[in-house]
Symmetry: C2
Subunit: 391 residues, 2 copies
């Protein structure tokens, strides 16, 4: 199906959704876990594999192709999130980017690492591991669900001490959708001469961002969640002036054999052979979003969808929203079913082909709402929840 | 094209080669860089992507699928290289496996790391980086090309001192194809209470191996070279009794959220979201080799092909083989063209669709010979080399 250059020219959302085979047979609310891959992305991946076999797989021509694919992908990320392509290291996922930063800091025993109490379990475990092995003090700032931004800022500020080298926070907390005031947190860290790592797993592809304008230190994100790329591609954005300071840990041919002109780019954190054909699928995914609308237009649509769901959920007796909308202008809507087992509810919903996930802390269900989400999906979720509550 | 259960039943090599689209339009000698992907592997990958979209992409069912795919892939590696599936951590490439070991050792400043002078530049750079950041002494054992095994063993033995914690060597040196006596090196390291890391990039999928029987400490390898899997999947084998001792560095949900029964398996070194659909392609690749013949049968065929090429090269005036066959019972045949620029020769050959690579040290060309290599490819290489020499 041809996709118009500008949404208003030609396409309804219903038409646009036809690009995504995953949306054909279910109501889908798990973009925060993994986004839907478009038919075009899969075709680009297939075409790339065929090119690799036709011209290689290993040849001078294909080595140049890999270099170009990586460069074009850094440019694509920059077109979506701002800054210079040389600020982006291509990774496999957001967690790898967080680990590059955790292990790239010049820690001394007794130094201090600060995270929040709502980091993703994988990133939380990574922070605990670096703290254990580097003999760091690890502090966790509480992010109780409806706390004011000012209170979180104060807690971070008062937790920073003279041994603090890094604060690591999620832009959007994975459990509740709570959105943290990253500009203000970056500003207070900058003043305290402390580096800030932002886990953008639940904000990249959701909230319009210009990372260069925000002047963030480190921003790690996946391509396979809200951006709807294939699983296994992500990136780490590094503020240009920090690229020399941060030290590579895992090292391989990609980062260590760069030409003189690239030695001081974020590419120095890339390691070795990765699934390069998938880069084409990731760029195709981002391109499709951009052709649908600007980041701001997509975000507006997403927030409208979120409001629709929140209003519907508010009207159901037995559903409790975890957090106020004003604290969570994100794609995540977390809620609990009073007196019901969430894991049991999830199974029932999945049988009905309504896909969302449960969260352990706080015990709740989490629906990911995309700009791609349509009214019929929300209606189906609401009616299924009513049925579960009536059981 | 159907593939018979046993080669002798039904298939000629010419028929078998039809499984690999890359072999249709060139003479291919770069398996040591990247192996050819079969049509079946690409179809399996495509089918997996379609399944992920049909049943997810993110759902309880697909989370179970990921767990099963990883487990089946560990089993597949074990079926090819021996040992228990729980000894295999799935990585993206061999270099990542080497880094997991380099950074997983409990180093103290002044400890001693030993490598050879012929490690792959990526792994060499990784060793230098860990040595720099952990303040280690780094020694390089020379592996001059036609040196006897005993001499290399003596050099390793005499380089080991009371501060040595790790020796890291390639099973087959990437530059010359020289094969190191890994069983003997493992034995001397064991006696000295020093761990041994083997980079199997140029031996996995070439030399029949039973890693459990060899009782090796750590063996890192890629799936995308001689095994002919898709780029971006590899593994690290860890001797079962060393799994608890080695510490994870990069950490994410896969390694940190394992069930109680898996906490002491090599899976604890796996990080986060990877290109899971490619696992199906990798297994399909290994399965296709296994249906063609046993590891021993494939190795015999490969060595026969190597002898054919070596004999042909020996008869060309102006070609000098870098190393004796007896020192290099591997798939790599390195040779120099006397008085010619190897990079220029490479370009000419690539224009003729004869693909091999050059090596910086020693300055030479390297042809990778697989069991898949056929006589017409070798003839074409030889006639192209003669043309280059005649220019």
């Amino acid at each position: 199906m041809p996709v118009g250059k500008i949404r208003s020219e030609s396409q309804t959302l219903a038409e646009h959704r036809l690009n995504y085979p995953a949306l054909a047979n279910k109501a889908y609310f798990n973009y925060g876990g993994q986004g839907t891959l478009s038919r075009g992305s899969l075709e680009e991946i297939q075409t790339a594999y065929q090119l690799v076999q036709a011209e290689g797989p290993f040849s001078m021509r294909m080595l140049n192709w890999i270099t170009q694919e990586l460069q074009r992908t850094r440019e694509c990320f920059a077109s979506e999130l701002g800054g210079d392509p040389t600020s982006y290291a291509i990774t496999h996922n957001a967690t790898e980017g967080c680990n590059i930063v955790f292990w790239g800091i010049d820690w001394k025993p007794g130094d201090h690492l600060i995270i929040t109490d709502s980091e993703h379990p994988g990133v939380h475990a990574a922070a605990e591991q670096v703290a254990k092995r580097q003999q760091l003090k690890l502090s966790m700032v509480p992010t109780a669900q409806n706390q004011a931004d000012e209170s979180i800022l104060e807690r971070i500020s008062s937790t920073i001490d003279e041994r603090t080298k890094l604060v690591a926070i999620s832009h959007v907390l994975w459990n509740t959708g709570r959105t943290l005031p990253v500009a203000e947190i970056q500003s207070l860290c900058r003043k305290a001469n402390v580096r800030l790592l932002i886990d953008g797993a639940q904000s990249a592809g959701v909230i319009p961002l210009d990372l260069a304008e925000l002047d963030v230190d480190y921003f790690a994100f996946p391509g396979h969640k809200w951006m709807c790329g294939p699983e296994g591609i992500g990136a780490l954005y590094i503020r240009p002036s920090l690229i020399d300071e941060l030290q590579p840990t895992f090292v391989g041919w990609r980062g260590s054999m760069l030409g003189e002109e690239d030695k001081h780019t974020a590419a120095k954190f890339e390691v070795a052979t990765s699934p390069f054909p998938l880069l084409c699928g990731l760029r195709s995914a981002i391109d499709l979003h951009q052709r649908w609308g600007t980041a701001a237009e997509r975000y507006d649509q997403l927030l409208e969808n979120v409001r629709t769901l929140r209003e519907a959920l508010s009207s159901i007796e037995g559903v409790s929203l975890v957090i106020d909308h004003q604290r969570a202008p994100s794609g995540l809507v977390s809620f609990s079913l009073i007196g019901k087992s969430h894991s049991q509810a999830l199974k029932t919903l999945e049988r009905e082909r309504v896909l969302l996930r449960s969260i352990p802390t706080p015990d709740c269900l989490r629906a990911s709402i995309h700009y791609l989400t349509d009214k019929t999906e929300i209606d189906r979720l609401v009616s299924c929840l009513k049925a579960v509550l009536a059981e």
